[in-house]
Amino acid sequence: MRAQRLLIVTAGLLAAAVAGCAGGSAAPAPAPRPDVSGTWVHPGGPGGASLRPAEGFPLTPWAAEKMKSEKPTFSSDFRETTDPAVLYADPNGYPRIQMHPMKFKLVQTDDYVYHLWEYNQNWRQIAMNKEHSPDAPATWYGNAVGKWDGDTLVVDSTGYKASTWLTGQGVPHTEDLHIVERIRRDGDTLVVHFTFEDPGAFTKPWSAEVKYERVEDGAMIETIYTISDELRFRERFLGVPSPIPIRR
């Protein structure tokens, strides 16, 4: 009887010790991490996405004049285009590359979110929970910092080269371009809400939203487009001799 009571007490103490141990040393469960990672594509087909505000682009007189002088490949003779992405095989810049009909991938790490585009194997990095560098030079894909707002990745970016077009239609911008993106996942859809500010190019901030579909197969194919490729295309399809030696 005494032995039986001792056994029960011992078992009780052991159980209490185990429970205390488990409860006392366990770290609090981490907050669920928002997730926008994966491979995405615009479902609009080969033409890619469009970036058109409902009320039209609020262009300043300078921007309206500049856009009027541009010759996009879609609406003018290809031989005369002023599109820098074709004329010089320049990188698309941002966000134009995001309208391209090829895939892109978002990769999340603790300190950066990487944005990888299939087209031209271009990429940008979004520094998480950091301030903009005060002396960053203007670049094709800007200086982007990000933070989480609930399930939404908020990306604030500046420092874009003024020579790129915002869209294939020739919407211009200056080096003062400031873009805020709110990126969130809605099931198998990625919703990107853009707000653009640029006092030199736009009379007021304007917004547009673009949606992308998740792609099961994350494989991306190398597709690096060079000035040789462009000159070769012009020579073969337009009969325009190349002014410089090109790779055959």
């Binding site: 609009g44 087909g45 080969p46 033409g47 890619g48 996009p72 490949t73 879609f74 609406s75 003018s76 003779d77 290809f78 285009t81 074709v86 391209h100 009909p101 090829m102 895939k103 299939e118 087209y119 294939g168 991306m220 194919i221 597709t223 690096i224 487009y225 060079t226 490729d229 462009e230 070769r232 295309f233 073969r236 399809f237 337009l238 009969g239």
Partner: protein, 123 residues
């Protein structure tokens, strides 16, 4: 009258959007007569897997002097539609449908190809 003008405008915008969606590198209508389709049985003379557009050289089976250079989409885009860099080879006899070049130029935009085994590849 006003509604007619609006309808015409809507049509023009629609056509512009259609031609825009054809190719990312350039608008189809800037080089090709998108209102015409030519279908012909041809021999493949070259197949180049390159950027900005995959290139297909063809010669008519019936008239070897009738040759065209056709452009297809970019490699990743057509890979999504079942193409590989080995889909065609020189000497293959296939049936192609394409938009011919403007002003009679011997170029074209490939729309589809029917392979010797009857398989169809959309461009």
């Amino acid at each position: 009258m006003r509604s007619q003008v609006l309808l015409i405008l809507a049509g023009v915008v629609g056509l512009l959007l259609l031609s825009t969606s054809a190719l990312a590198h350039h608008g189809a209508a800037s080089l090709y007569d998108v209102s015409k389709e030519t279908t012909v049985k041809v021999t493949i003379t070259e197949f180049v897997w390159t950027n900005p557009h995959v290139e297909v050289g063809i010669a008519s089976v019936d008239d070897k002097r009738a040759r065209w250079l056709l452009e297809v989409g970019s490699p990743p885009n057509i890979a999504n539609r079942g193409w590989t860099s080995k889909s065609l080879k020189v000497g293959d006899v296939v049936t192609v449908t394409f938009n011919p070049g403007l002003r009679g130029t011997r170029i074209g935009r490939l729309l589809k190809v029917v392979l010797p085994d009857g398989k169809e590849l959309k461009a």
